[in-house]
Every structure is written in structure tokens, then in C-alpha cells.
């Protein structure tokens, strides 16, 4: 069933978009979302590549029910020079997969240069949409993949631990971005300091940090302020069981705005649905196995919001 394809090479796409699906905690449906968002996009006539960027615990191929011939390990180790040779076709037309590394432990933390080579080559591939499925946690690898995308999607479930981790992920990504922008070593040091919540400088929020940086170096402060405006991740709430769960995305959007000063979009929610685990058990994507389930409908609504860069409306939930 599995074959390496050269089908996608050489085709020029007018506009390519890269999405990254992250969110800190494991078990919040990142791979589920990635796989099904990808399938939903192909149904809209898009050519899609899924990349399993969970280098330590890759399993996106299982969600799709394929056995990849080659994986990212081969690329990172240099066994395969061109990333196109790692592409695996899936049973869904126009949906290709780059499977994550599985066998070599050290691959989970690739060298910075290896990682950058990977990101660069992925960006050069010719697809309409490329979806990066990130691993759990706030490792630099995850944060860098997230920041390399055009759209960062955060997968959250309505539980305190998951929400905490999403905020932590936002904060880590945000500060990593700050640090990459900053040139002044004193400013860099202050950003490191701010990461520690019990810091002695009284930096509690990103607002405080920007103020302090601006008072040291006005230009650097201005740059950070600009970075705030362009950092706009999207939230997708998974496993929604009640109206309160549905409005959680709005509450998180509000909290992020008031705390981080960033605009987070609430792109959609996925209802809790037994069909999801039934599909997972069968190693089949939900959209292929149960295309008419309630979760599948939610996924389609979410994907439509994501490609149109729109948000859920509060009215659509409150008036239900």
C-alpha cells in the first residue's frame, strides 16, 4: 500500500500555508486534529502534507493507518539527503505523510543545525497546506517548529492541567520569540529572568517585561511590542461535553488578551464523541471511518474557520 512518491515534486503552488498543532500536554488530541484537519483540507481540493514532528514519540502514521518506508530519522541522520524521498502517500488522495523518527533515541533532540535544515526543507516542499504535528512539552524543538509555522494551533481539552500547559506553551513560545528578536545581551538576560515566575525584578506579566526592556533599551522594547502584535495562535477545544466547555475557548481568548496582551483566536471545538476512540482503536482517521459523526462535523467547521482565518462567534454558542 505504501509507496514513496515523487508526485508532488516540481509542481508550483501559488500560496502555501504551514500550520503547527501544539499545546503542551500529551493526550489533548494533537495527532487526532492534525490527521483529520489534513483529510478535511483534501476534501476541499487542497494538496496536503502531514509532518509528524513529534520526534521522540511519533505515531501520526498509526492515526492514518500507514506503515512508512522511510522516516525523519533517516533524514536527520543524513541517510536520506532530500526530504522528498521521505514522503509517504496515504490512502487519501492528495494527502502525503512525513513520518516522525521512531527508532533512534537521540533524534528526539536534534542539533539546532539539523532542525533548521529540516524546517527549511519542509518549507520548500510544494503543497497547499503543510501540517506539523508537534510532540508534548515545551522543548526548543517544539517551540521552534511552532514559531516556524504561519498558523499555530493549540489543542486543549477542558481540564485545568491542559489549560495550564497551553498557557505555559504560549508563554514559552512567546519568550523564545522575544529572545530570538533581541540582540542586546542585557535584554536577552532579562527575558531569561522573566521566564522564572519568582524573579526578583517584579516581572509578572509580558507587559512588565516589555516595560522593563523598554526602559533599558527603547528600540528593543518597541521590537518586542511589535512581536506581540504578530503572535496570534488559534485555540481548538477538544472533547467538549457541555456548553461551559464550548465557551472555554472564549474565556481563554479573554485571559490571553488581558494577561499576555496577545490576540488568540478561538477557531473551534470538537464535541466529545465515542466515534473518536472507536476510530482510533481501528487505526483509522475519524473522517474516513465516521464521516457523519458529530465530531466529524465539528472538525469540518473548525477547518473552515481556520482557512478563512475566522473565529467562532459567541452568539452561535449562547443561542443554541
Amino acid at each position: 500500500m505504501t509507496e514513496n512518491i515523487g508526485l508532488f515534486s516540481g509542481l508550483q503552488t501559488p500560496k502555501k500555508e504551514i500550520w503547527a498543532v501544539g499545546g503542551g500536554k500529551g493526550g489533548t488530541g494533537k495527532s487526532f486534529l492534525s490527521a483529520n484537519l489534513g483529510i478535511a483540507l483534501t476534501r476541499m481540493g487542497k494538496r496536503v502534507l502531514l509532518v509528524d514532528a513529534d520526534l521522540g514519540c511519533a505515531n501520526l502514521h498509526t492515526c492514518l493507518g500507514v506503515t512508512p518506508a522511510a522516516t525523519l530519522s533517516d533524514f536527520i541522520q543524513g541517510k536520506i539527503r532530500n526530504i522528498e524521498s521521505v514522503l509517504t502517500q496515504t490512502e487519501t488522495p492528495n494527502l502525503a505523510l512525513i513520518s516522525g523518527a521512531q527508532d533512534y533515541l537521540e533524534i528526539a533532540n536534534p542539533k539546532h543545525s539539523q532542525k533548521m535544515r529540516l524546517i527549511r526543507q519542509i518549507h520548500e516542499l510544494s503543497f497547499d497546506y503543510i501540517i506539523l504535528d508537534l510532540g508534548a512539552g515545551t522543548s526548543f524543538t517544539n517551540l521552534d517548529f511552532f514559531l516556524s509555522a504561519d498558523t499555530g494551533i493549540l489543542s486543549v481539552i477542558p481540564e485545568p492541567t491542559s489549560i495550564e500547559n497551553v498557557y505555559r506553551f504560549i508563554k514559552s513560545a512567546f519568550y523564545r520569540r522575544f529572545k530570538k528578536i533581541a540582540r542586546d545581551p542585557d535584554v536577552k538576560e532579562m527575558i531569561t529572568l522573566a521566564m522564572d515566575e519568582k524573579n526578583q525584578r517584579g516581572i509578572r506579566t509580558p507587559h512588565d517585561l516589555i516595560d522593563q526592556v523598554a526602559s533599558m533599551n527603547e528600540k528593543a522594547g518597541q521590537k518586542l511590542k511589535e512581536a506581540v502584535y504578530t503572535f496570534a495562535p488559534k485555540i481548538v477545544v477538544n472533547q467538549v461535553r457541555s456548553k461551559d466547555d464550548m465557551t472555554l475557548g472564549f474565556s481563554m481568548r479573554s485571559s490571553c488578551g488581558k494577561y499576555f496582551g496577545i490576540k488568540v483566536d478561538y477557531a473551534g471545538y470538537i464535541e466529545y464523541d465515542d466515534h473518536v476512540w472507536q476510530a482510533t482503536k481501528k487505526k483509522r482517521p475519524l473522517l474516513l471511518e465516521f464521516p457523519y459523526s458529530s465530531a466529524a462535523r465539528c472538525l469540518e467547521r473548525t477547518v473552515s474557520n481556520l482557512i478563512k482565518n475566522e473565529e467562532l462567534k459567541l452568539n452561535s454558542i449562547v443561542n443554541q
Binding site: 477542558p158 481540564e159 485545568p160 489549560i163 495550564e164 498557557y167 517584579g202 506579566t205 507587559h207 512588565d208 516595560d211 522593563q212 523598554a214 526602559s215 527603547e218 506581540v228 461551559d244 465557551t247 472555554l248 472564549f250 474565556s251 481563554m252 479573554s254 485571559s255 490571553c256 488578551g257 488581558k258 494577561y259 496582551g261 496577545i262 490576540k263 459567541l314 452568539n315 449562547v318
Partner: protein
């Protein structure tokens, strides 16, 4: 995006300026849910004090915007503020004559709350002052909230008050004198109060 402490009522409730009664109502319900004591969405970002402050502002915003008469007045004030800021920014470029501060505020003790009220009437946000004077916003907040415990040593405080008043084109000596009276009274009372 501004800090919540600098947000106006519309920003606090996250609604457009022309929001309808229904929109205000829904936004208020959501805001209460978001910043209430049992909310799972905000506890890990804001401590209890912050949440109480936000909650208070939400309540204020709602009570004002839901009342037609109060909202009309608030909207008028807001429009004036926008106008004033625009004018002030335009005139500050050409060194306009200083606007006289309200006389009643300049006799005797001046508290941070008075300063805040005067500043808000002029429509200048605290962020703006922080941006221009390079004074840390948390210090400015402490000054306005009479939060003396978190203020820096008096020598710095004097300089901050001076700059703050100057930026708002007030008589900085009088303001400083009045504020220091409040500050010194607090220092005297401090040992017995805790």
C-alpha cells in the same frame, strides 16, 4: 493590547463601541464566568488579587453600559478623552501652555486616587506615561493606588511624582508636596497599622 488596568469599559468587556444591550449582557455573563473564583480559564495566569480587580472592573463596566443614561455620559466622556488626547498630542508638539490643574485638588494632601482621577479626566493612559517617562508601570500603579509598601525609596518616588505631574502639565511642585504629605502620614502610621 493594553493591560486590563488601562482598558476602558468596552475593552474590559471585549465588545464594540456600538454594542447592543444583548451583546453587553452576553459579554458580561462570559466575563463573569472567565474571571469568577471557580473559573479554570484564568486562575493560572492571574492571582486572586488580579482576578478580584478584573471582576470589579467588569461589574463597573456592566453597570455603566447597561444603563442608558450612564452609558450616554460615559460615551461622551470617552469621546472627549479621545478628542483631548488628539489635541494634546498635537499641541504638545508645539509646546502649548500648561493646562491648569483643578484647584481643589491642590490644597493639602493629595492621594494617588486623586492623581488617578485627574489623569483619567485628561484621558492619558498610565501606559502612555510609562512609555514617555520610562518609569516602570508597576511603580506608577503603586503610586496611583496609594500602595506605599511597594514604592521605591523616597528619593526615587520624588522624581517619579515630579515626572508624572510634569508629563500631565500640572504644577509638579504642588503635586509633589501634596503627595508627600499623604506618604509621610502613612510612614508615621505604619508601625501601628500592622
Amino acid at each position: 493590547m493594553k493591560r486590563f488596568s488601562d482598558q476602558n469599559y468596552y475593552e474590559i468587556l471585549e465588545i464594540p463601541y456600538g454594542a447592543t444591550w444583548g451583546e453587553i449582557q452576553k459579554a458580561y455573563e462570559l466575563a463573569k464566568k472567565t474571571y469568577g473564583s471557580d473559573s479554570i480559564a484564568s486562575y493560572s495566569l492571574f492571582d486572586q488579587g488580579d482576578r478580584a480587580l478584573i471582576f470589579k472592573k467588569i461589574e463597573e463596566a456592566y453597570q455603566t453600559l447597561i444603563d442608558q443614561e450612564k452609558r450616554r455620559k460615559y460615551d461622551e466622556a470617552l469621546a472627549e478623552v479621545v478628542e483631548e488626547v488628539a489635541q494634546r498630542l498635537a499641541s504638545s508638539a508645539q509646546e502649548a501652555p500648561a493646562a491648569p490643574p483643578p484647584a481643589e485638588a491642590l490644597s493639602g494632601e493629595i492621594t494617588g486616587k486623586t492623581l488617578k482621577g485627574m489623569r483619567e479626566r485628561q484621558g492619558v493612559s498610565l501606559q502612555e506615561i510609562a512609555d514617555r517617562t520610562r518609569i516602570n508601570l508597576t511603580y506608577l500603579l503603586s503610586i496611583e493606588e496609594d500602595n506605599f509598601r511597594t514604592l521605591p525609596a523616597e528619593v526615587y518616588l520624588r522624581s517619579y511624582i515630579h515626572q508624572y505631574a510634569k508629563m500631565l502639565q500640572w504644577d509638579s511642585n504642588k503635586i509633589l508636596e501634596g503627595y508627600l504629605k499623604t506618604y509621610q502620614r502613612w510612614q508615621k502610621e505604619k508601625p501601628s497599622s500592622t
